[in-house]
Point group: C2
Chain length 224, copies 2
Amino acid sequence: MRDLYHDELDDIGNSLVAMTYLAGTAMERATNALLDGDLNGAERVVSDDTAIDALRADLEARTFLLLSLQQPVATDLRVLVTTLHLVADLERMGDLALHVAKVARMRYPDVAVPTELRDVISQMGKVALSLVDKVAEVIKGRDVQLAAAIEAEDDSMDALHRKLFTQLLADNWSHGTEAAIDMTLLGRYYERYADHAVGVARRIVFIATGSMPAGSAAVKPPKN
Amino acid sequence: MRDLYHDELDDIGNSLVAMTYLAGTAMERATNALLDGDLNGAERVVSDDTAIDALRADLEARTFLLLSLQQPVATDLRVLVTTLHLVADLERMGDLALHVAKVARMRYPDVAVPTELRDVISQMGKVALSLVDKVAEVIKGRDVQLAAAIEAEDDSMDALHRKLFTQLLADNWSHGTEAAIDMTLLGRYYERYADHAVGVARRIVFIATGSMPAGSAAVKPPKN
């Protein structure tokens, strides 16, 4: 019985990694769809989001069942409680990728991102992917050091977010209010995506050490 | 031992209600500070947010301890697992009130909200408060019917959010890009606040019925 239990715990861990990659793929495709004005790419992100939602529901149900049937203590209990938080963060990351895709879809056949902002959005997309790859490694290995690197990389996202605002507020902004609204929301989606990646990393630190990093909220609140 | 345990469960429930009211007071004060350009009011929301964060950490720790020591099953287990989700939503609602307060503070001594948008923001603040009052009642009584009313009230918030965008995109918008950015972010803060209130209500339905409302995510994704 205990072996089946630990097999299931391992399987939940593997599903968490799979869910992380799904959230990463969603943001990669959403960013490409956004920058290329690619309607099919945007639609695919929208339709694929149901798979991420379903994975969350499945992982929550399985975690609840293990809590109920096995009544774990100590590290196993921490892993399961943490799993509930991680799937919430990862589902939200999928939702944020979905929102990016919906901006691309809403502006099609136009491209939502003005030429001079392509670079900063492209960089935000790259940081998001790099974060997700690190998060997957952290989940696989519970590597507390890599979790710290994720916090540092999140600072890059915040810097890009500030850069975006600087460009929006430049005197020569010529794209009107609608584009300003789009870019404000897009900036927030990428920034929140990174915040949730940090939230996942912090939760892994909780599994590894039994306490959250000093002064940290479960999901890093944005700095604005 | 079981009596102490149920006393602690009740006490956690009371703390959840208290946390809900703190999140409501924060948004009420933030909205007033925003509309009045009240720096002291904004500062108070910022400093009071640490109490909400601390309450979350305390409730998470106490919930984990009960899971560990009492190994509850059935309804008690559902209540405790749900508590972990509720405190996450309630803390986030506090963060969103904090963000509103920070916009007020950033624009002081100016008032961030242009005259013609005062009404829609004021209404969003009122819906937020009404939602929080209902959420507190739902937590106290686990009233599934009131949870449904919360979903309906959230629709009012979404309608106000659309109205805000309509006004921002009107041809006679004369307040420039900075005000458009502020109003875009403010609209999102209120809308997300309502989404988390809905998330709390849905979780209570989960306690009462053992399943989530059909097709619902744990935290309602916004409709944009």
